[in-house]
């Protein structure tokens, strides 16, 4: 715990990273509070003939799309998808990566070799192609499946980092001492390794969120993510693409939202990374 506290203290000293965190928190609040904040129902079509493709106005701060739906409201609800999938998948990937890393780090050399060579191969798999393939072939995968897919194809780097860390820790005095005192493997992991691994895993997960959000939006843009009419930022851009030249705001707004979100997560991730390993500071 004290290691996490130390991480937080060093993180707090980085003003730009804290700014990123503030944006992330605001976005999360906006996503959670979408029903309260949104000016309109994101699915409501007040008048698809008269009110379609309205430019931004006080009533519709970001205009309306071609179904007369309020873009602002859809943006807020879309945040739930992007943030939710991004956070959940990154977390899951971190957990899987940590698990495999610990297993490889503590396991016998054979287990270690097997796992790490497997990771070598997995890292060389074309991730986007495989995701595209699976999501296109099994059309209409629910959000849960998308999350699992993104996580299952994304934990490899984390496992390497964790394994290296575990191998270092394994030789550390306090771990050796605990071993000598007869600590069981699981007790060792829980009591001695996890506290040391937690910061690194948190950093890896945070740095991954932005990446996953981008990936998810790309899949949605190809029509493979969240199903319409439910808004996700990727499918909103897809919606707006056909009328890019006549009503650019429909596609521009979700893109900017993605940009801001991913920048914020990357700032937090960079800040955490620097806090974790001050030498890496640029």
């Amino acid at each position: 715990m004290s290691r996490l506290r130390g991480l937080w203290a060093r993180f707090r000293a980085r003003r730009i990273a804290v700014a990123g965190l503030v944006v992330v928190v605001l976005l999360a609040l906006a996503a959670l509070g979408a029903p309260l904040l949104a000016p309109a129902d994101p699915l409501a079509q007040p008048d698809p003939v008269a009110l379609q493709n309205q430019p931004p106005s006080p009533e519709h701060p970001l205009g309306t799309d071609r179904f007369s739906r309020d873009v602002m409201s859809r943006l807020l609800y879309g945040a739930r998808v992007s943030l939710g999938i991004g956070a959940a998948a990154a977390l899951l990937a971190a957990v899987i990566g940590a698990g495999v890393g610990v297993a490889a780090g503590l396991g016998s050399p054979l287990v270690d070799q097997l796992l790490m060579r497997g990771v070598d191969v997995a890292l060389a798999l074309p991730r986007v192609f495989l995701l595209l393939l699976v999501l296109a072939l099994w059309e209409g995968a629910p959000a849960g499946v998308v999350i699992v897919l993104l996580a299952v194809t994304g934990w490899f780097p984390t496992s390497r980092v964790v394994r290296a860390l575990v191998q270092r820790l394994r030789e550390a005095e306090f771990v050796q001492a605990a071993r000598a005192l007869g600590a069981g493997r699981w007790g060792l992991v829980r009591r001695h390794l996890l506290p040391h691994l937690a910061p690194a895993v948190i950093v890896a997960a945070t740095l991954d969120v932005g990446n996953i959000i981008l990936l998810e939006s790309g899949l949605s843009y190809l029509g493979l993510g969240i199903r319409p009419p439910a808004p996700s930022w990727g499918n909103m851009i897809l919606d707006g693409k056909d009328q890019l030249f006549s009503t650019p705001w429909v596609a521009a707004a979700p893109g900017l939202a993605l940009l801001v979100t991913v920048v914020a997560f990357n700032l937090v991730g960079d800040g955490l990374q620097d806090a974790l390993d001050p030498r890496s500071e640029k």
């Binding site: 079509q45 698809p48 003939v49 007369s68 209409g140 319409p228």
Partner: protein, 554 residues
């Protein structure tokens, strides 16, 4: 066929032959800039062709390109009269006659040549028919040829079609679905390999344009056959350029990167074309119809559907959909609400066909009467605890259908019906529809010039085919059977209209929209007319006056 019927064609034919003779006499020499013929038509298309072997081509670009490279025995004229022989003009066949009620004899034009110089002969026609019907080729047109027993060669220039029975659309079936293929280039290829043969990448036909090149994913070019037997086309070249994104295609057109676009469905894009000083919108009758078909049987065709088995519920749903609003929203003022599984391009279309009007109050009353009552919590209906909920299957590839589905979803919600959307990518969508594994399905059809296709969609016979909703009505079946046998359009029209009326009355489907067909064509082209079923059918007559030519017209 009586000679009187042929007279008008003959006069035109002589003119054409005269032209052809002139053209063949004049040695093809480099044209001067002022010459009457010349010009390049650049067509923008959102998809590349798949294969330029007409029996196998499955996409519109392939059909468009093949249409210019290959020719038929006879061509449908622009009013799309598929019933009377007067609806056709000569092409490879300069004349034809009905020897008896089941025998149709075509006389080929002796001047007709393949692009490699070999003359077109009766054997080519018979060979082509064989290819289209060959199960190993597996052409999607083969069902259209079911009524033709055989095709035989009488002499080098005479070919005979033998029908199983008499019906008015014999000429249509004999000529429309098949393009004549060069036997001398294809008869050495095993039938199973024909579709994949190199021929499909560099075809040789007898149409007004010959194939020049095809850059996969980028474009296709054809050039005028200057020694064509019907006279050389006015234009020198036609080029298709692939622009996969529709919005980008319109912008490319506006930027002068292309000359023509077949269809511009969205109103705001049409407005942009209209505002351009260089472009002209050429509206033509739509031959497309999109509809939500209800599955009257249970899933996979078993039993009766719990919701759609009830005619009143179907009627309520149809009345709950404001089709005009959907069409306006999707296509603007030019969109059309279809009167049934037909479109304005078909000669059976009439605004007077019986339809259910948009009437949400009546819809609500009907649903109440059938026991589907609104629950106060969310305003949706249920009966005995079962919610009034169904899933609409639709393909992700169709923007318009997805958009329409979203609009209809909101409208049905207003009358308490909970319609869920299940967008599927196309292969999956087709599979699920063929298995009848759906509640309701959003179909879209490009209609033939002949209305007989309607039977496949809603006739009892069609239940094996594209009548995915298993709609069955003896009244509809008998009316359509009589319509098909009616000897003239005048006799057939009321029967077709009545049949469609029964379809509407039974609420077999929500006939949601006919996309407006408007081509955008550069103003420098003259003589532009569009035949609704094949928008490039008359392209050989389009021209560019010398003074209006652009650098690319050269």
């Amino acid at each position: 066929m009586t000679p009187s019927c042929l007279t008008p064609h003959l006069s035109r034919l002589t003119r054409l032959v005269f032209c052809a003779v002139l053209a063949s006499c004049a040695t093809p020499e480099p044209r001067t800039p002022g010459s009457a013929t010349g010009g390049t038509l650049v067509i923008l298309t959102t998809g590349d062709a798949d294969v330029l072997f007409p029996p196998a081509g499955a996409v519109t670009t392939s059909a468009d390109v093949s249409g210019l490279i290959f020719s038929r025995l006879a061509e449908l004229t622009s009013d799309l009269n598929t019933v009377d022989d007067a609806g056709f003009r000569p092409s490879l066949a300069r004349s034809w006659e009905h020897a008896d009620s089941t025998t149709l004899v075509f006389h080929l034009d002796p001047h007709a040549r393949w692009h490699d110089g070999v003359p077109v002969r009766a054997a080519d026609v018979a060979f082509s028919f064989g290819v289209y019907r060959d199960t190993l080729v597996a052409s999607r047109f083969s069902p259209n040829l079911a009524a033709i027993d055989s095709v035989t060669v009488r002499d080098t220039l005479t070919v005979v079609y033998h029908f199983a029975r008499w019906y008015p659309e014999q000429v249509y079936d004999a000529t429309y679905h098949t393009k004549v293929l060069p036997k001398h280039l294809l008869d050495t290829i095993p039938p199973a390999r024909l579709s994949s043969a190199a021929f499909g990448r560099s075809p040789v036909g007898s149409g007004p344009f010959r194939f020049v090149r095809w850059d996969a994913g980028t474009g296709i070019e054809v050039a005028a056959d200057t020694s064509h037997f019907l006279g050389r086309p006015q234009l020198d070249r036609v080029v298709w350029r692939v622009v996969p994104d529709f919005g980008a295609a319109v912008s490319a057109l506006l930027a002068g990167e292309g000359d023509a676009l077949a269809i511009i469905p969205q109103a705001e894009l049409r407005d942009r074309v209209r505002a351009s000083p260089d472009l002209r919108l050429v509206p033509y009758a739509s031959n497309g119809v999109a509809y939500v078909a209800f599955n009257l049987k249970g899933r996979r065709g078993q039993g009766v559907h719990p919701i759609f088995g009830d005619r009143d519920v179907r009627r309520a749903i149809v009345m709950g959909v404001n089709r005009t609003a959907v069409v306006r929203s999707l296509f603007g003022a030019e969109g059309e609400v279809p009167v049934g599984p037909t479109a304005r391009a078909q000669w059976i279309w009439s605004d007077s066909i019986l339809q259910l009007r948009y009437d949400p109050r009546e819809a609500g009353r009907l649903l109440d009467a059938r026991g589907w009552l609104t629950r106060p919590s969310d305003g949706l209906r249920e009966r005995a605890g079962v919610p009034l909920r169904f899933t609409l299957l639709l393909p992700t590839t169709s923007r318009a259908r997805q958009d329409a589905a979203v609009l209809v979803q909101a409208q049905l919600r207003a009358i308490g019906v909970d319609m869920r959307l299940e967008p599927l990518e196309f292969a999956l969508f087709e599979q699920r529809s063929a298995q009848k594994d759906f509640d309701a399905i959003f179909q879209s059809r490009t209609l033939d010039a002949s209305p007989v296709g309607i039977l496949q969609l809603f006739g009892s016979e069609g239940a094996r085919q594209s009548n995915y909703g298993s709609f069955a009505s003896p009244v509809f079946d008998s009316l359509t059977a009589r319509a098909i046998a009616a000897p003239t359009r005048a006799a057939a029209r009321p029967l077709w209209r009545q049949a469609i009326g029964t379809l509407n009355d039974d609420a077999a489907a929500v006939f949601l929209f006919s996309p407006p067909f408007s081509a955008a064509v550069h103003r420098r082209f003259e003589g532009v007319s569009i035949r609704p079923d094949e928008w490039l059918a008359t392209v050989a007559e389009w021209s560019v006056p010398p003074q209006a030519r652009l650098p690319r017209d050269r």
